[in-house]
Amino acid sequence: MLLKKKSILAGMMAAAGAVGFAAPVVAQDEKLLMVTSTFPMTSPTPYAESNAQMYSVWCQTYGCLGRYNYAEKEYQGILVDDWEVVDPNTWRFHLREDLVRHDGGSGPTTKDVLHSYDRVMNDPDSIQKNIFSEVETIRAIDDHTFEIVTKEPLASLLSYIFDRFIITSAELADAHENPDEEAAHGWGPYKLKSYMLDQEIALEKNADFPGTSESAPDTAVYRQIREAEQRVTALMNGEVQIARLIPPQLVSRLEGNDSVKLVESPSIEQMFLAFNPKFEPWTDVRVRQAAAHAINKDLIIDRFLMGLADRLDGPLGEQQICYTGPLDYIIDYDPEESRRLLAEAGYEDGGPEIEFMTASGRYISDRQVSEIVTQMLTEVGFQVDLQVPEYANLTAAMRNGELPMYYLGRGLFLDPSEPLSQYLETDVTQRIGYSNPELDALLQKERQTLDPDERCQVVREAAELIAEEVPMFFMWSHRLVHGVQKGIDWEASADGEVWLADVEM
């Protein structure tokens, strides 16, 4: 019977091949690269979305100030070739003068920078104002030099704006009623070829961009495929050449495939547990530490996440700016210590009752991880009420400071300055409700310390304090796994984005 089944399948496959169905859909063009996308593609306006993928697409087409090179651990210019700190509140940037606009127009000038700043701040479609939340103004010095003036000294300014401030042409905006659709020309290494809402974005190589590599794809298409199963299948049957964000449970499907390789990278998204000290029992640091001691991160990473996560012991992982080695204060898995701390906090006869909220399907295996955490907390005596609200409700309650304990992730955690301020500095937001004058002082000091080494020392002090006080218990960063067809060389970076100039075909 088995033999018969196989024969039928073999026959069907042969028939499929005979009528030409089995041929890959793409690959007509030798240098055509199809890349999967999981983000929405909702508008051709470069200021209307705020996610890593669209920043990367617009940065490669219109152009941005530059990008962070994770391998070299430094910022590198794209539209600017140099920058310096003039005074604690003023940064000066020099635009490149060797660029030509995609339609043959002149290179970017400060007029374009000011126009773009205006669009970010005032275009009704813009949702990117946050990148200039700490900026007082931008002013032109000459045609190719401009200054950004911050409200307060801000050592981490580049992390806010460098690859997110998209520069569009003032001249084209003046000449067209709808420049984003009628004249989407920029200065980046790729040109926008087509944009289909919620389907695909096609880019083609800008041969005039200095240093363009011959081996980079001539055309690249970001195709939206939200379902992980479909991404894997599309890669295996040749519909796409790079399938991004393969969840751990599907990695094994690709491992045995001869035409596909797996490319892994760390990430800058940090997963954490938040203990909100505005709610009992999290007012007591011993209870927060007890909860942290109860969680066996290594076990979860090894057994459940299949090793595809990098353990964190504080807000500084190896990918973060200012990482200077492991912290001195590390909370290890120690259930005995956990029970001791709970007893000391007055819970010797039974642990505190806690409400624990988690997302489901937003992050890798988030609900399942939370269930494991619940079990671990229960083991030491906590009485856990795990709740899985819809994400919209969860995030609204989190922003309003209504969640006692939750498991979430924070993306764009390249420079710890902004995320730590957002979650832990007094009254900046209500997300955790933690307040500690000592930490506030350290966070303020790091923003004002423009010397990188000195600043990183302050950041480390802040990280040590957070690790000991545990208003946030940092769990891990998921490793990003991508499936790539053999014959294509691409080293994924921690932002997970495909910088086409880095791809060799």
């Binding site: 399948l9 069907m12 496959m13 499929a16 169905f21 089995a22 859909v25 793409v26 007509q28 063009d29 055509l32 199809m34 929405p40 909702t42 508008s43 306006t45 209307a48 705020s50 009704p124 479609d125 949702i127 990117q128 104002k129 946050n130 939340s133 289909m196 809402l197 919620d198 389907q199 695909e200 096609a202 298409v221 195709r223 939206q224 495929i225 939200r226 379902e227 199963e229 479909q230 894997v232 299948t233 599309a234 295996m236 049957n237 519909e239 819809e390 994400y391 919209a392 409700n393 969860l394 995030t395 609204a396 309650a397 922003r399 924070r410 993306g411 764009l412 902004e418 995320p419 209500q430």
Partner: protein
């Protein structure tokens, strides 16, 4: 009103969900104000009704485009998918139902019953993924998602890809259009095949109990002629009714299938809208579904007149 109320009563709103993680509280508040989300719910509802009276469904928060325009762009893809799914379901289910009725109590009947129950019971997202794994991943017969491959375009005449490809003589696009339609249409059709085949079977069996059928048998009329002239016409009304009801359910039920197959229809659009509480778009799409459903029911009622000669003769 129900959708409007439910969406607005739930905590959280589009500003929370659409703005980035690092948006400041001020930015969230500004956005809420710009979209009118900071106003009391009855004022928002009044505004919604006022706009609706002028056939203005507002502008989508997520897409920054008029809701009417977005629905108009996506509706053809959903209708096209639903049409082919229905066609496939009818072509398969009606003969299966007739066959099961004629072979009542025999192995064929049992097999059809199992197929029918399985089709109805299996959730479409699961069936869709299985079909992708087998036909796309294993056999590499059909693409896994999307509507057309990159580089294949069709001149837009009606908005229906296969029809436009046919009208413009774009044979490559027509071929690719059908390849991309195959799996989502089959996924949707499988659930309907079960229901339609069961109704067809029951209707044919009922029709077979009529005296004129026994008379025809006694007169020595051929089996094929009896089925064609006596059983099928009499069994048609319940079958047409269920097809009409299923078509409405099919269009609204395509939401998950569209998401699974990245099909650019209003199902995907609705999914995107709900996930970020895009209220103008959500209410607009739900209203569209309602209109489609009512229209289809009206068309089915009209269609009865052609199917049932008794209705043609009655003039009140």
């Amino acid at each position: 009103m129900a959708i409007f109320g439910l969406l607005r009563l739930a905590p959280g709103d589009a500003a929370d969900l659409l703005l980035p993680d690092d948006a400041t509280d001020e930015q969230v508040a500004e956005t809420r104000e710009a979209w009118g989300l900071d106003r009391p719910i009855w004022i928002q509802y009044g505004q919604f009704l006022s706009n609706l009276a002028r056939f203005d469904l507002g502008e989508s928060y997520r897409y920054r485009a008029p809701v009417f325009e977005l629905i108009g762009e996506r509706l053809p893809a959903t209708l096209e998918l639903s049409f082919y799914a229905l066609l496939l379901a009818v072509v398969v289910a009606v003969p299966l139902g007739v066959l099961a009725a004629l072979k009542k109590g025999k192995t064929v009947d049992a097999v059809v019953s199992v197929v029918a129950v399985s089709g109805v019971s299996a959730p479409s997202f699961w069936v869709g993924i299985l079909l992708v794994l087998f036909f796309s991943g294993y056999l590499n017969l059909f693409p896994s998602s999307g509507q057309l491959p990159y580089g294949v375009t069709v001149p837009e005449i009606t908005g229906f890809v296969t029809l436009d490809a046919l009208l413009s003589g774009s044979w490559d696009a027509l071929y690719e259009g059908f390849r991309y339609l195959a799996l989502p249409a089959l996924t949707l059709a499988l659930a309907m095949i079960g229901i339609i085949s069961r109704i067809t079977r029951a209707s044919v069996i009922d029709a077979g109990q009529e005296e004129h059928v026994f008379t025809a048998v006694a007169k020595g009329m051929s089996r094929r002629a009896i089925v064609r002239r006596h059983l099928l016409p009499n069994a048609a009304i319940p079958v047409v009714t269920i097809i009409g009801l299923e078509l409405g359910a099919l269009i609204s039920g395509s939401i998950i299938v569209e998401v699974v197959f990245s099909w650019p229809g209003i199902g995907t659009l609705l999914f995107q809208a709900i996930s970020v509480r895009d209220m103008p778009l959500t209410t607009g799409i739900v209203a569209s579904y309602t209109i489609i459903f009512i229209t289809l029911n009206l068309l089915i009622d009209i269609f009865y007149v052609f199917v049932d000669p008794r209705l043609r003769g009655s003039k009140g």
